[in-house]
Symmetry: C2
């Protein structure tokens, strides 16, 4: 086992801290060059990486892992080239560092400003996809951070090969290889050690399901950025169903929201419908029903859907306020906007959408709804780093501290106060 | 006991969430009016508040609490008026809410921006000073947040009286009294419940010593903003001791840094001295020695201090990297800037200062040192919300996530994404 020869977690933390000190002062062009070197190294080592990945795939199949999970960990020549291209895309992103607030001279005479700096050392814990290893490493590097990665045990060989490629490229660029370290020992104890490495690690970012996030929150003493968990609502107002074109638009948005990627955290969970819009509900939901979505409807909407010959079943209490992550959606009639807002105040928080032609309603919705993303007349699937213009995304935060919504390079940074004096003391 | 009649923590959380929904849409003038009403109510109820406080003081004396701790919990007519005046000062601060980033139209046609909004519900845990009850409540309210407060058990009567004044003023202003709730049951279990109230509380802010912060970090599942802990270094370069005026300035800064408020987290802990400046060390430290500061010096500096007749003792290993919070300081000779930077990289992180006349050195120090505040030629005591121009301060964060350094109203807020579309779906 390679695990035996790796340093302890605390040693890895100290090495990461040392590397972080070098990274935080690197000019943009050196970071970009390092990323381009990593992309080149991934291409140069593709045979080794794919053969390490094949070992993981064989082991996973032998262990009886479900086919869709084996697929998630499989790399191909093509997917590896795509990963390398993504690395080069990150290298071309604007550098968030160095930005500084306007310097203010205060009554004491000191001049103060805040300067954007890297977080320092990140700990990222994720599940089976090996592309996350490279993706996270280069986002960390480009934002001036060192990173300790803990991937799934199913991808241990793939991750080791990818780590070697990244570290070798860093060394060739005369940068500290310890800026990127993968924990090779799959034991759960190592993950727990990482979660409690306060002296060295500045933030833990989990990338995975609700269980992983909860495990991190329950066990970490390092601050955790929780994300990707939450219920997505869409409120359809009667003002948006007055014309055939609008009804068709509503149907397209709902279809996109639910079916474009049902496993995503920004996929629709619950449709709230103004009572006055009830007659057109079958038109709005027909594409969903045809796409095989399991519709769980409240009594009023169920009656209308059934009457129209659409397959639906009676919703249970737990079908509301539930994140489905599958081709399932719940449907509920509300009197109007205010009831929808009350419902969202109780169950929302991730991405919530209103479809309306009434500007006053739209403003009220945007003001009242307290979610990571609030949308008017658009699919909730736009709550994504790429779609919102961040260029890349390390995670979607659904907590309120530090970052909220998609996290790009800038969200991997913090600030420090810079105070310039001429001998001032505090009076 | 009042505790028996209070709702459960979970009920308090739900009430706070409901109140937060009202607060987050309040215009600035209504919040400011509420704060002025609170100030008036504190003045109107001063007799009741002071008599409740007298009960706490008597109980504390009877329990044999040390005099300086009894002093911390004592209120007077004068201190109560000062608290009310502080409330009015917060009412006059600029409102951080409503600020919005420039709207961008993305290739998909959606228009996106980020809007500043309150965190929601804060949990603040603090020790014996009752002024914190009012201070924290009004900073939370002015930034649009609801707050659940958990003070020390020594101030239970004072806090109940202050809470009643605040809640009564809120009700009179037709605002939800549940925006401010004090946990009256002093049992540790209630504090643990607050730390794990994820469903309702968005952030925990501890205000107190290192032990309290550690307790919160170890036990909370709600994100915690850790602060106020850390070692403060001052590096004195030889370029700053070339004239009698500079030597005198260095002595004044060091004196201010260490003695203006020795119990503060931004007071000096360790003086690092360039070897070339060693001959003037007695001149720099004489005011400190005369102020009775316990000096712990490394062998080189000890020899020079002793030779000059200044009282000092040999530093132990643990005198470096230690936060003293008392009239104690450690002194260490380094070869020059680079050795100082290495030392600070290992032990710093709160406030670190360089005294230098060399601009290149100053730039290098500001770039390399990764602390909440980095200062050139000024006292570290300026790392404070009031001194850095924030107007008020709820805590000093020494972690890197969310906020770093003094936290004012703006640091009690977050952002949400606002997406405006015209029927767009994701391709």
């Amino acid at each position: 086992m390679t695990a035996v020869t790796q340093p302890t977690l605390y040693d890895m933390g100290l090495r990461a801290k040392k590397a972080a000190r070098v990274l935080r002062s690197l000019p943009t062009d050196r970071k970009a060059a390092a990323l381009r070197a990593i992309a080149a190294e991934l291409r140069a080592r593709s045979t080794d990486i794919l053969s390490a990945n094949a070992r993981d795939v064989l082991a996973a199949e032998a262990a009886g892992l479900p086919a869709h999970m084996v697929d998630r960990l499989r790399l191909s020549e093509k997917s590896l080239l795509a990963i390398a291209a993504d690395v080069e895309a990150v290298a071309a992103l604007p550098d968030p560092l160095g930005e500084q607030t306007e310097e203010k001279t205060l009554p004491s005479g000191i001049r103060v400003s805040q300067r954007r700096v890297p977080l320092g050392v990140l700990g990222v814990i994720y599940e089976s996809r090996p592309n996350v290893t490279v993706d996270t490493a280069v986002l960390a590097l480009m934002s001036g951070n060192a990173v300790i990665l803990r991937g799934g045990k199913e991808t241990v060989h793939s991750n080791a090969a990818l780590e070697e490629a990244v570290r070798s490229a860093l060394s060739a660029q005369e940068l500290p290889a310890d800026a990127v370290q993968v924990i090779r020992d799959p034991a759960r104890e190592r993950m727990l050690e990482l979660l409690r490495l306060d002296d060295c690690v500045d933030a833990i970012i989990p990338r995975g399901g609700a269980g992983l996030h909860r495990f991190c929150v329950e066990n970490a003493t390092v601050p955790v950025i929780v994300g990707g968990i939450g219920v997505v609502h869409l409120y359809l107002d009667s003002s948006f169903v007055q014309t055939p074109a609008d009804i068709s638009s509503a149907a397209q948005i709902v279809l996109n929201a639910k079916t474009q990627k049902p496993s995503a955290c920004n996929a629709l969970d619950t449709l709230l419908l103004a009572r006055a819009a009830l007659p057109v509900l079958p038109d709005v939901l027909r594409p969903l029903a045809e796409a095989g979505v399991d519709l769980r409807a409240d009594p009023e909407s169920l009656a209308v859907l059934t009457e129209a010959g659409l397959a639906a079943q009676a919703a249970a209490t737990e079908d509301f306020g539930t994140e489905f992550l599958a081709l399932t959606a719940s449907v509920r009639v509300v009197e109007g906007l205010e009831e929808a807002l009350d419902f969202i105040a109780e169950h929302g928080g991730h991405t919530d959408v209103i479809l309306t032609r009434d500007d006053a309603q739209a403003s009220r919705f945007v003001q009242d709804v307290d979610s990571a993303a609030v949308m008017v007349n658009a699919s909730p699937r736009f709550n994504d780093g790429g779609q919102l213009g961040l260029g890349a995304e390390v995670a979607i935060s659904t907590q309120k501290l530090h970052a909220r919504g998609p996290m790009g390079l800038r969200e991997l940074t913090t600030t420090k106060w810079v105070v310039l004096g001429e001998g001032q003391v505090r009076g």
